[in-house]
Subunit: 236 residues, 2 copies
C-alpha cells in the first residue's frame, strides 16, 4: 500500500469533533497515521463520536507538544495553506500534492500539515514545509472546515494511489530547438516534393506542427523523423 508512509498532522486543533472527523476522513481514504500537535481537547467524547468507525485511527493518534516531534522523521513536509504569503513558496494543487506524495512515499515518510480552525498554519510553520498545498476554493468564501480539507487531500491521495504510476518513457523529450530543426527540414522537403506550395501554403505546416506538438516528440523520434527526411532527400 503506497499510503502507509503518509501522515496527517493537525496543529492546535480547538474542536475535538474536528479531530474525530479527520480520523474518519483519513480512514475512508486508506490513511492511518494521525499526529496531533498540542490539541485543545483530546481525547474527548466528541472526537470519538465524530470518528464513527475510525476509532482505531484516533486510538493510535500520537500527541506531541511541538511540531518538530511530529515531523522530525519525515523527508517531505507539505502544509495546507489558503493564504498567499509575502515570500512566495513552492505551491501545489491537491492533485500535484498527491502525485508527489505517492511518488516519494516509497523512499521517505511524508507529513501533511493542517492548521488551526480560525487561522490555519503560522508563517513559521509554513516555512517548515517543502511545499504549500492550496485547495482551490470560492474566492468569496475559502474557509473549508479542517476535516473537510483533510477529506479533499486524502481523496486525492487515494485516487492517486489507485492510478498506475505513469509509465517510464524510454527517451527524454526532444529539446525545442531540435523539434524546430525537424519542422524546418520537413518544410524544405515538402516544398521539394511540390506538396507544399510556398505561394499558397494554406495551413499545412500549422497542422503538422499541431500534430507533432500534441504528441510531444522524444529524442529518438526526432532522430527517426530526421532520418526519413534525409532518406527522401537522397532519393530525389
Amino acid at each position: 500500500m503506497t499510503l502507509t508512509n503518509i501522515r496527517i498532522v493537525l496543529i492546535n486543533t480547538s474542536h475535538p469533533g474536528n479531530i474525530g472527523a479527520t480520523a474518519r476522513a483519513m480512514k475512508t481514504m486508506g490513511l492511518a497515521e494521525l499526529y496531533l500537535v498540542n490539541p485543545a481537547l483530546f481525547p474527548h467524547v466528541r472526537a470519538d463520536e465524530m470518528a464513527s468507525g475510525a476509532l482505531d485511527v484516533l486510538g493510535k493518534a500520537v500527541v506531541t507538544d511541538h511540531l518538530d516531534d511530529a515531523i522530525s522523521d519525515c523527508g517531505l513536509v507539505m502544509g495546507a495553506s489558503a493564504r498567499s504569503r509575502t515570500i512566495p513558496w513552492p505551491h501545489l494543487t491537491p492533485r500535484q500534492c498527491a502525485e508527489k506524495a505517492i511518488l516519494e512515499s516509497s523512499q521517505t515518510k511524508i507529513a501533511i500539515l493542517f492548521g488551526r480552525e480560525q487561522s490555519g498554519l503560522t508563517n513559521e510553520e509554513l516555512h517548515r514545509c517543502h511545499f504549500h498545498v492550496e485547495i482551490p476554493s470560492n474566492p468569496a468564501y475559502r474557509s473549508l472546515n479542517v476535516a473537510a480539507a483533510v477529506q479533499v487531500i486524502a481523496y486525492e491521495l487515494y485516487v492517486g494511489s489507485l492510478t498506475p504510476s505513469t509509465s517510464v518513457w524510454d527517451y527524454d523529450y526532444a529539446a525545442a530547438q531540435d523539434v524546430e530543426g525537424f519542422y524546418i527540414h520537413l518544410e524544405r522537403i515538402l516544398v521539394a516534393l511540390s506538396f507544399l506550395k510556398p505561394e499558397a501554403p494554406r495551413q499545412l505546416m500549422t497542422r503538422l506542427r499541431r500534430l507533432f506538438n500534441r504528441a510531444r516528440l522524444d529524442v529518438m523520434e526526432v532522430n527517426i523523423l530526421r532520418g526519413i527526411l534525409n532518406a527522401i532527400e537522397k532519393k530525389m
Copy 2:
C-alpha cells in the same frame, strides 16, 4: 459561472449539523442551491453552527416533502452511491460526474442527490437517477460523512469549472482502418526509401505507431500524411 445550475439535494438527513456542514462545503466550492427532502430537524441551531460563514446557503435552502419536488425541473439527476446494486446502473467517478455536470449545466438544471447518514439512497431513489456517482474509498471503510462526500463532489465540480472546457476540435478522429491504411502505406514508402530494411526492421514501425497513436490523428491529418506519402511515391 458554470455552477449556478447545479443543485445539491440531501434526503432524510438525521443530523442538522450535517446540513450545516454541507452548506459550508458547498459555499467553499461556489455552489449555492441546497434542497432538503424531509430533514429530521431543520432549521436548527446545530445546522447554523456548522454552516459557519455559509448561513446564506442555509437560509435559501428549499425544504420539500418528496424527492419529486426537489428534482422535477432537473434534466440531469445523479446520485451518490457507495453500494453496487443488483441491476447495474451507469456509473461515474466524481471527476466524470463533474465533467458531465459542467458540460450540461448550460442547457439544464442538474441535481446531485445524497442519502441518509446510515443507509444512503434507497433503490427507488437511485432508480430516479441518470447516473450513480461513487467516491473511491478504502474497501475496509467506505463510510464518508455525508457533508464530507458533498465536499469531495463539490471540490471536483469547482476544479472542473476552473479548467477551460476542452477546445472544440475542427475534425473528427480518424477511423482505425484509415490510420492502419496510413501505417501500411508509410511502411511501404520507408522500404522503398531503403530506410526500413525488411530483414532488420528493428523497432522502427513500432516507434512510429506509438508516436502517431499518442497524437490520435484526426481525419484531415491522415489525409495530409497520405498526401505526403503519395508525393514521395510520385517523385521516386
